[in-house]
């Protein structure tokens, strides 16, 4: 590969660090949310919001610290990921702050302003990002924690089921409450389980790929190799059943299938994965009313608004879905403008699970497309990192994290836009929720670390004694 093509992650070995590009992009990533913030203030109160200076400085400071750490400790990292994450996080803060101003939401008993908390969590997230880069000099050290990771992830996932610790919030048992804070362990489990999958599959990939029997065009693995897959499948079903968390189970299972496919290069895994998830979906939806109402709300939201019994779970689901759809419709092509929409009619969870509807209403089709492109770019940089990574563990780890990120974006945005049944998950970086924003900053930190390793110039070859000799030797 030519030395000149150094614009991509898989480019030349001696790629330039691109840190200045990152700095410039970060400038935009801070300026755009600040303008958005001013825009909301002007639209809502007709004056500059009081906190604009503090907000701008705060976001700029966080981005600056993150940049300096990347510049010092991950010089060769991908230059796009940090600006993209900063931009999304900054815009998310503006969206949350905008919804905080809604008198309709403030009148609700289950609503509390979230912007300050979210800013604090964002700072914590960037701190974790910095921590990842400082502590983890090489992502391969995580290989050592393969089985510990498995144990940790299972514990994390099951924590919400522990009596006294788990909190049943609006039907989904995915939170735990520790000293006034509620944490969604699933968000962190997403990363930890990726460590386990990467470590496990790196070791077992040959056994899984080669020791199989061909049956009806499919490569069926041996029973003992099938074991982990069935375990994951069963676990995701259990999460769904006991924690009412459709999203997380889909996410884990999807991530596992993707990594299995990449590790073994066998399409039969994908087919089996699809068959198993279809089977699981049928089984669960046949007895979980929670899932049934989501499906009904997805199939015909306006129709089910009329037929659903008064006060039922299904009515709530359908009402929410119709409000979200009408928000998108009200946005049209260009949107109503920051602060000028009525997405707060969604009422419940307007600033968390459904925050994307506010984007749809106030920024319109153009804004949603821009947001989807931002997410698409993050995913693309993640996949490129996987391609560029030189070790199988890094490849699997990067594709696992990027794949999980892509699935999460698809499941949330698709659910909110009525493409697929709704699942309760957060839009990465946008939605109000501490666990989500912290975990996603950690995810970006890990991807940056892998990309740094991948793009780092290979150490120059050791000087050849023979060559030395031929030059030095003189009669």
């Amino acid at each position: 590969m030519s030395v000149v093509t150094n614009t991509t992650t898989i480019g030349a070995i001696d790629a330039p660090s691109r840190r200045n590009t990152e700095l410039m992009l970060l400038g935009f990533a801070v300026a755009i949310p600040v303008f958005a913030y001013i825009n909301v203030g002007l639209a809502l109160d007709g004056e500059l919001p009081a906190g604009v200076l503090g907000y701008g400085l705060g976001l700029g400071l966080l981005a600056g610290v993150a940049h300096l750490v990347v510049r010092r400790f991950a010089r060769y990292a991908d230059p796009l990921m940090l600006p993209l994450a900063t931009l999304l996080n900054g815009l998310g803060l503006v969206l949350i702050w905008r919804l905080d101003q809604s008198p309709r939401l403030l009148a609700r008993s289950d609503f509390a302003p979230q912007a300050t908390n979210q800013l604090m969590y964002s700072a914590l997230g960037i701190a974790l990002f910095v921590g990842v880069l400082l502590v983890m000099k090489d992502h391969r050290v995580l290989q050592r924690f393969t089985y510990i990771s498995m144990a940790v992830s299972i514990v994390l996932l099951l924590l919400p089921l522990v009596p006294g610790l788990g909190a049943d919030v609006f039907g989904a048992k995915i939170w735990i409450r520790v000293g006034g804070f509620s944490i969604q362990p699933g968000e962190f489990a997403k990363i930890v389980i990726a460590v386990f999958f990467s470590g496990y599959l790196m070791v077992k990939r040959d056994a899984l790929a080669l020791a199989s029997r061909r049956f009806m065009g499919l490569y069926l693995p041996r029973g003992r190799d099938l074991g982990p897959i069935l375990t994951i499948w069963a676990m995701s079903l259990l999460i769904l059943v006991f924690e009412n968390d459709l999203g997380t189970s889909l996410l884990f299972f999807g991530m596992f299938v993707i990594m299995l496919y990449v590790a073994t290069e066998r399409t039969s895994w994908i087919v089996m994965g699809l068959l198993m998830s279809a089977g699981g979906a049928v089984v669960v939806s046949s007895f979980a009313s929670h899932v049934q109402s989501r499906v009904a709300a997805w199939l015909d939201p306006f129709g089910c608004l009329e037929t659903a019994p008064e006060g039922s779970n299904m009515l709530n689901a359908c009402d929410q879905m119709t409000q979200v759809l009408m928000s998108f419709g009200a946005g049209g092509t260009l949107g109503t403008g920051w602060g000028q929409g009525n997405s707060d009619l969604i009422a419940f969870a307007a600033n968390s699970d459904f925050i994307f509807a506010t984007v749809g209403e106030e920024l319109g089709l153009a804004g949603v497309m821009a947001f989807l492109l931002l997410y698409g770019l993050i995913i693309e940089r993640g996949v490129r990192t996987a391609l560029a990574a030189r070790d199988p563990f890094g490849k699997l780890f990067a594709i696992g994290l990027s794949g999980a990120f892509a699935l999460q974006v698809f499941v949330v945005a698709g659910g909110v836009m009525g493409l697929i049944p709704l699942t309760g998950m957060t839009m990465p970086f946008l939605a109000a929720g501490g666990s989500s924003v912290i975990a996603n900053w950690a995810l970006i930190g890990i991807l940056i670390r892998i990309s740094d390793t991948a793009r780092r110039p290979a150490p120059s070859p050791a000087p050849s004694p023979d060559a030395e000799m031929t030059q030095v030797v003189r009669p």
Binding site: P103, R104, A107, I258, Y261, V262, A263, E265, F302, L305, T322, L325, M326, F328, G329, A330, G331, G332, T333, N342, L345, G360, G364, L365, V368, M369, L372, L373, Y375, G376, I379, E380, V383, A386, L387, P392, K395, L396, I399, S402, G403, A406, L407, V409, F410, A413, G414, M417, G418, L419
Partner: protein, 486 residues
């Protein structure tokens, strides 16, 4: 491992692409349908998100907007002198919708009309708040007040028109209601609405435009007009060949006269004392089809009289028998007219036979008072010739000078009128309606024609009730208009 990685990359791309396609479908293709959805509160929220434009009378606003602390609808409609103006304004309620002018001119008042596109665009650049335009009415505050006060706590309605232009000057209906009382969406608004809709007196009915009454003897001017126009009567001072009692054609029922001296009375005399027999016979002489033709020229049977508030159609039956036609000629049987219709008949006579289209919105103006739409007087029809109109005026003026309409006389002004008492209910069991139609005339022609109807009067006799109850109200309205002009 790179080959599956590339496939996964494509798969992720497809996921994002699917989201993008779905979003285009949702926000571009389906946007209009979603916005028009009946569950979408945004249209209502938008309607009350800013100050609504006003309805103007005599340069002053009779409506207003007040900011509320409601989370959904920011502004609420208020009404100055609501009950008096309700038949004109209608209501605009956050919960119960709108009617009449508030609904018909909603585009201008709410500022959403395409006619205001330029203003909205300019406001976008100048940073002004969105505001609605105004509807300037043709009504006269003094005439309206005279009409409303004149009706007082009686049940009834008044319609007054400027005969030369068709401008509506007064439109009163009692008992009335205050549209402010249910403009918001608090519990008390809902209670007020329920109370009003359940009230047996139907206060929300616009009696001046939307209720039809048997016109009684006031219809005789129309019969007289038909008699003159179709040649059944040549000379209003020549004796008619009317027997006493007059037996309705094809029956053995005599037509009862409340007045005396109706046998062979002249048309002028018959008008003066309101002889039933003379007009029943005249209607029969003209014939049903010609009577229908004349009534329709005056606006009967027309379902599209839009002022712009649509008036209920007044009825003159096209298919009734001979004796029905004879009874209809004195405003009984199944003849029915709105107060507006009878004001139109009077106005056409006062305007020398030209019937002008009645209207109540003079112009629509933008928030910065540019005229968006100007309504000009429009001729609706010419039911009678100028000569015959003047003969009718002579007879109607005689009614006020010498006959049953004395209560409407105004010093120094020529006033023409006709009283009426309309029986209703089975066998005349219910109290009759008292009618009075009249016009005032000065040297410059007639500035006002009025029709008044009062329900539930305690009076019995034709001459007393119409002249006694309704004529003073008509007089007050005419005086208000004349005072306005001087």
């Amino acid at each position: 491992m790179n080959k599956p990685l590339r496939r996964i990359a494509i798969f992720c791309g497809i996921l994002v692409l699917a989201l993008m396609i779905r979003d285009n479908w949702l926000q571009y293709v389906r946007a209009d349908e979603l916005n028009a959805n009946k569950y979408n509160k945004r249209v209502e929220i938008e309607r009350y998100a800013h100050e609504r434009g006003n309805i103007i009378v005599d340069g002053k606003s009779i409506t207003g907007s007040v900011e509320t602390d409601d989370n959904y609808y920011k502004y609420k409609r208020t009404y100055t002198n609501g009950p008096m103006w309700a038949p004109v304004t209608g209501y605009a309620s956050q919960v119960f919708g709108a009617n009449q002018l508030e609904k018909l001119e909603d585009g201008i008042l709410s500022g959403n009309s395409d006619q205001l596109f330029f203003d909205r665009t300019m406001a976008m650049f100048t940073g002004d708040k969105k505001k609605g335009g105004n509807a300037v009415t043709t009504l006269s505050g003094k005439a309206q007040e005279a009409a409303y006060k004149g009706l007082g706590d009686k049940k009834g309605a008044v319609a007054a028109i400027d005969p030369k232009t068709g401008k509506i000057l007064a439109l009163a209906s009692t008992p009335s209601y205050d549209p402010s009382s249910f403009a918001g969406r608090l519990e008390k608004d809902g209670k007020a609405w329920t109370a009003l809709t359940n009230d047996p007196d139907k206060p929300m009915l616009n009696r001046a435009l939307r209720e039809t009454y048997p016109p009684g003897s006031t219809f005789k001017v129309l019969t007289a007009a038909a008699g003159l126009e179709y040649g059944a009567v040549k000379d209003i001072n020549a004796p008619t060949d009317t027997p006493e009692p007059y037996i309705l054609p094809g029956t053995s029922t005599p037509m009862v006269n409340h007045a005396s001296g109706c046998e062979d009375a002249t048309l002028n005399r018959a008008m003066e004392v309101s002889c039933n027999s003379v007009f029943a016979k005249l209607g029969d002489d003209v014939g049903r089809d010609k009577m229908v033709e004349m009534a329709e020229k005056f606006g009967f049977n027309n379902t599209e009289i839009d002022t712009p508030i649509r008036a209920a159609a007044s009825v003159y039956d096209k298919t009734m028998s001979r004796d029905g036609n004879a009874q209809s000629s004195i405003g009984q049987f199944n003849t029915a007219a709105t107060p507006l219709q009878m004001a139109m008949v009077t106005a056409a006579i006062a305007n020398d036979g030209r019937l002008m289209k009645p209207y109540m919105v003079d112009k629509l103006v933008s928030p910065d008072l540019d005229v968006i739409q100007q309504n000009d007087p429009e001729e609706m029809s010419r039911p009678i010739s100028a000569e015959n109109a003047q003969l009718l005026q002579q007879m109607m003026e005689n009614v006020v000078e010498n006959g049953t309409g004395g209560n409407a006389a105004i010093d120094g002004v020529k006033v023409g009128g006709k009283t009426g008492t309309a029986q209703h209910g089975e066998n005349n069991s219910k109290n009759p309606y008292a009618w009075f139609i009249s016009y005032a005339k000065t040297d410059n022609g007639s500035p006002v024609a009025v029709a008044v109807v009062v329900e539930d009067s305690n009076a019995r006799r034709d001459d007393i009730s119409g002249g006694g109850l309704a004529a003073p109200i008509a007089k007050a309205v005419m005086q208000a208009v004349l005072g306005d002009r001087q």
